[in-house]
Each structure stands twice: as structure tokens, then as C-alpha cells.
């Protein structure tokens, strides 16, 4: 026996989550490329659009709660709805990172860009790709893909560490670079956190399929310490 109306509502909820994820992934790519493009208009647009993302996250959460109250889903259906709520929250936070990078672009304004900024589009593309693929894995209920995506977080961490080392070196050379370097470090941090949140989404995929809440293992000492 199928539950046509309920299944339709579940599918609609997932579709909205995917649409939101697609939007957020695009915003991350846009934000990560802003600094090299120096496009203030686009930066302002990313900042404005964050409100739409917030509204959609709240709408998804509200509709999920309605589904819980009216349909009383159980077992895998219950885990699915719980995961939708959780993933929508992750997407909202990731978009906050995109907004933060857009703001940094405006703050740096017309300053000559420091060299490490060139790594940021690469980080953004990587993090956005991971996000898109995590949502596809969620739709497929693909636990293997979830674990594999988590491993890719190491690549983003490596890129972050490279940006960090370069920026710290620049600050040591010339303290006048402190302001921009700090802003760029924060932008890189936002992209590194984006990949971390993708790991959280992967944990939710595993929970949806298996019912097990797992904490993905993290490398120790992700933030590099100054080398003597």
C-alpha cells in the first residue's frame, strides 16, 4: 500500500530543500569569486538574498513541523523529516558564510588584493561542489557517498591551511597588511566551515538511512600553529 498524499508532501519538502541547497551552493561560488572580480553590485545582491534564504529555511522548518503533527511519520519517514529540518539549518548557516564573504568584499573595497586571495575561488568551488553532491547523495540515500564526501573535507582544510600560512607570513613581513589579511583569513575560514557543514549534512544522510547518529571523525590540529 502506498500513501500517495503523504509521499507527495515528503517529496515536495525534499524538492524545496534541494532548490534551497542549489541556491546556497551558487551563492558560495559567487561569493568566493567576488574578491577577484571586485564586483560590489554582486556582493550587495548576495547580501540581500540572504534574507530570502532565511525565509525559505524557516518555511521548510514550519512545513516539516506541520507534517510531523498531521501525519505522525514514523521510522524512516520520521528520520527523513528530522533530517530535512537539520539540513535546512545547515544551508542557512552556509549562506550566512556567503553573505559574510560578500561583506568582506565590500570592506576591502578598492585595496590592492593580497596574493593568497587567489586561492579563495578554488576553495569556494570545492566547497560548493561538495555541498551539491551531498544533497544529491541525500536524495539517493547514498551512505557510501556521504562517507566519501566527508573525506574530501581534508582537501578544503589543506587549502585553508595554505591560505592561513601565506597570510600569517604576510602579516609578519608587514603589519600594515593586517586588516586585509584578517578579512581574507575570515573569508577563508567561512569557506572551510562550509565544508565542515557539508560533513554535518553527510552525518544526516547516514542517520536517515541507518538510524544511527554518527560523528564523522575529524583530523586533529586542523588549525595550523605557527611554525618556529
Amino acid at each position: 500500500m502506498s500513501r500517495v498524499h503523504f509521499d507527495r508532501e515528503l517529496q515536495a519538502l525534499q524538492d524545496r530543500l534541494l532548490a534551497l541547497g542549489s541556491k546556497v551552493a551558487q551563492n558560495i561560488v559567487t561569493a568566493g569569486n567576488l574578491l577577484l572580480q571586485r564586483n560590489n553590485a554582486t556582493a550587495r545582491q548576495v547580501i540581500r538574498e540572504d534574507e530570502h534564504v532565511n525565509q525559505e529555511q524557516m518555511a521548510i522548518e514550519k512545513d516539516s513541523l506541520i507534517l510531523l503533527a498531521t501525519q505522525q511519520p514514523l521510522a524512516s519517514d520520521l528520520r527523513l523529516v528530522a533530517s530535512v529540518i537539520s539540513i535546512a539549518t545547515e544551508l542557512e548557516r552556509i549562506n550566512d558564510y556567503a553573505k559574510g564573504i560578500a561583506k568582506i568584499n565590500l570592506m576591502i573595497a578598492d585595496e590592492e588584493l593580497l596574493e593568497p586571495a587567489r586561492d579563495l575561488p578554488l576553495m569556494a568551488d570545492k566547497a560548493a561542489s561538495m555541498l551539491t553532491r551531498s544533497l544529491q547523495a541525500f536524495v539517493r540515500r547514498d551512505v557510501e557517498a556521504a562517507y566519501a564526501l566527508h573525506d574530501e573535507d581534508d582537501e578544503v582544510d589543506a587549502l585553508y591551511n595554505r591560505v592561513y600560512e601565506k597570510l600569517i607570513s604576510l602579516i609578519r613581513e608587514d603589519v600594515q597588511m593586517m586588516d586585509q589579511a584578517t578579512h581574507l583569513l575570515w573569508a577563508a575560514h567561512n569557506l572551510e566551515r562550509t565544508a565542515d557543514r557539508v560533513s554535518n549534512i553527510c552525518e544526516r544522510i547516514i542517520f536517515t538511512v541507518t538510524g544511527k547518529l554518527v560523528e564523522m571523525p575529524e583530523e586533529e590540529d586542523e588549525i595550523p600553529y605557527p611554525q618556529d
Partner: protein, 271 residues
């Protein structure tokens, strides 16, 4: 004849150290030549609520009635295997079924108070079982335990039939409690009641488990999820014989069942 009450309480214990109040071992139930239920192995933890769920015809009420030998009243019914209570198989020849039913009481789907006063509904069973203590105190404590005292204390001489459906059911629970059972079996106790009365019964069951072991048959999955500690899911095979599919903590069965059939049933995609 050996009286169950004379048996020392021999509690078997689960691997987790929980005491078992009642246990079905390789239970088979027949109506004439037809096997209604097969191969049931189930242990009910003391002072916990276990729900039996499953589609119509899976034998959950039939299984429930085995636990206090109510099936003896059905001429064609036959039971094989064992139901262990206090270390004794209640189907042994030397066991008094009346005594079994005193210690393992039952509440039925349709409230069935006696056509007597509220007071007598509670007192009568205790009296014929030889209760010699203060009957007024027994009636009050039973009605209090059944969360009914406040509503009836000023009209104990009125007929039990004058009460609402939900009150009548609580009166039946008080009547059962008055003869001091150890285990209470409930066969869809709230299915004839309105939602408010249903929730009151569920609240009452939660309170009662401190003193009793409760087994409840329900066709309402949300009720099983709300009101029980453990759930046993029954289904039927191709011969329409009922069998136990899965048994475990309610919180696990309703969030992450192990058996695909259980998943299908509780998500409403069964059949």
C-alpha cells in the same frame, strides 16, 4: 491443586538485569484444526508497559487471552507451549485458572461494569476472593489508583452504568486493581472512548506501571508509541497464522525498526 499465589516469585531476568513478570515460550494457539498463532516467544518486563500491535487477524488479542487462560472459555481453543508466571507454566494441570485470572487481570475493549453500584463494582470481586480487610479503604484506594475517586466519591451508591464511557472504563480498572493482580492485560481499552478519555486512560496506565506489569493490545500505533515501553509487532503468514515479527523498546521500534515488515506496517505502507 497448586495455587499460583503459593509459588514463590521466581523472576527470570533479562540479559540487561530486568525482572521478567510473564513469559511466553514457544506458544502455539489453535482453534480446532486451524493454527491461529505460531512460535511466540516473548518476555514481559516487570513494571513496564508492553504493547501488542499488528493488522487485524494477526492474533494479538488471541495471544493476550492466553496470558490469563481466558481462551479456556472458548471450546475449540487449544494452547501448546508454555506461559510462565512465577516460574510455573499456567497451563500445567495442577494450576487453578481462576487464581491465574485473579493475579493476571483483564480489562476489555468495551467497558463492562457490573449492574451494581460504583462501590459494589469495586468491592464485589475482593469480597468473593476472601478479602477481610477494610473494604471502604480498599474501594477508595482502588478508585484513587484508577484516577476516578475525585469524580465518584460523592456518589458511590449510584450505579456504575450511570458513568460516562471513560469513567466506566476507569471503574473497570479499579475493579481489576481491587483484587490485587500483579499483571493487568488490556485489550484495546480505549478504542471505544473519545480522544480525551483515551488520553486519560493512557496517563493512568503510565501511573499504574509503578505497581503493575501491563500488556496492552492496541490497533492505534500512535497510542502504542505514546503509552508503551516495549512493543511487539505481529503479522500473519500466507496461511493466516499470526506470528511475532519484531519485539523491542518502543523508542527503537518506532524510529528505527529492524525488520522491513515492521517498517512497512508502522509507516502505513503495509498490505
Amino acid at each position: 491443586m497448586i495455587h499460583i499465589r503459593d509459588q514463590e516469585r521466581v523472576s527470570s531476568v533479562t540479559a540487561a538485569g530486568q525482572a521478567i513478570a510473564l513469559e511466553a515460550q514457544n506458544l502455539q494457539i489453535f482453534y480446532g484444526p486451524f493454527q491461529a498463532v505460531k512460535n511466540v516467544n516473548l518476555a514481559f518486563q516487570r513494571n513496564r508497559i508492553t504493547a501488542l500491535i499488528g493488522p487485524s487477524g494477526c492474533g494479538k488479542s488471541t495471544v493476550l487471552r492466553c496470558f490469563n487462560r481466558m481462551n479456556d472459555l472458548i471450546p475449540t481453543a487449544r494452547v501448546e507451549g508454555a506461559v510462565l508466571y512465577r516460574g510455573k507454566n499456567i497451563y500445567d494441570e495442577d494450576v487453578d485458572p481462576v487464581e491465574v485470572r485473579r493475579q493476571i487481570g483483564m480489562v476489555f475493549q468495551k467497558p463492562n461494569p457490573f449492574p451494581k453500584s460504583i462501590y459494589e463494582n469495586v468491592a464485589w470481586g475482593a469480597r468473593i476472593n476472601g478479602y477481610k480487610g477494610n473494604m471502604d479503604e480498599l474501594v477508595e484506594s482502588s478508585l484513587r489508583q484508577a484516577a476516578l475517586w475525585g469524580e465518584v466519591k460523592d456518589k458511590l451508591d449510584q450505579s456504575g452504568l450511570s458513568l460516562s464511557g471513560g469513567q466506566q472504563q476507569r471503574l473497570c480498572i479499579a475493579r481489576t486493581i481491587a483484587i490485587r493482580p500483579e499483571i493487568i492485560l488490556m485489550d484495546e481499552p480505549a478504542s471505544a472512548l473519545d480522544p480525551i478519555a483515551t488520553l486519560r486512560i493512557e496517563e493512568l496506565i503510565q501511573t499504574l506501571k509503578a505497581d503493575y506489569t501491563i500488556v496492552i493490545v492496541t490497533h492505534n500505533m500512535q497510542q502504542a508509541a505514546r503509552a508503551s515501553d516495549f512493543t511487539a509487532f505481529f503479522s500473519v503468514d500466507e496461511n493466516r497464522t499470526g506470528y511475532l515479527v519484531e519485539y523491542g523498546p518502543t523508542r527503537n521500534l518506532f524510529t528505527n525498526p529492524e525488520n522491513e515488515l515492521t517498517e512497512q506496517y508502522i509507516t502505513g505502507r503495509f498490505g
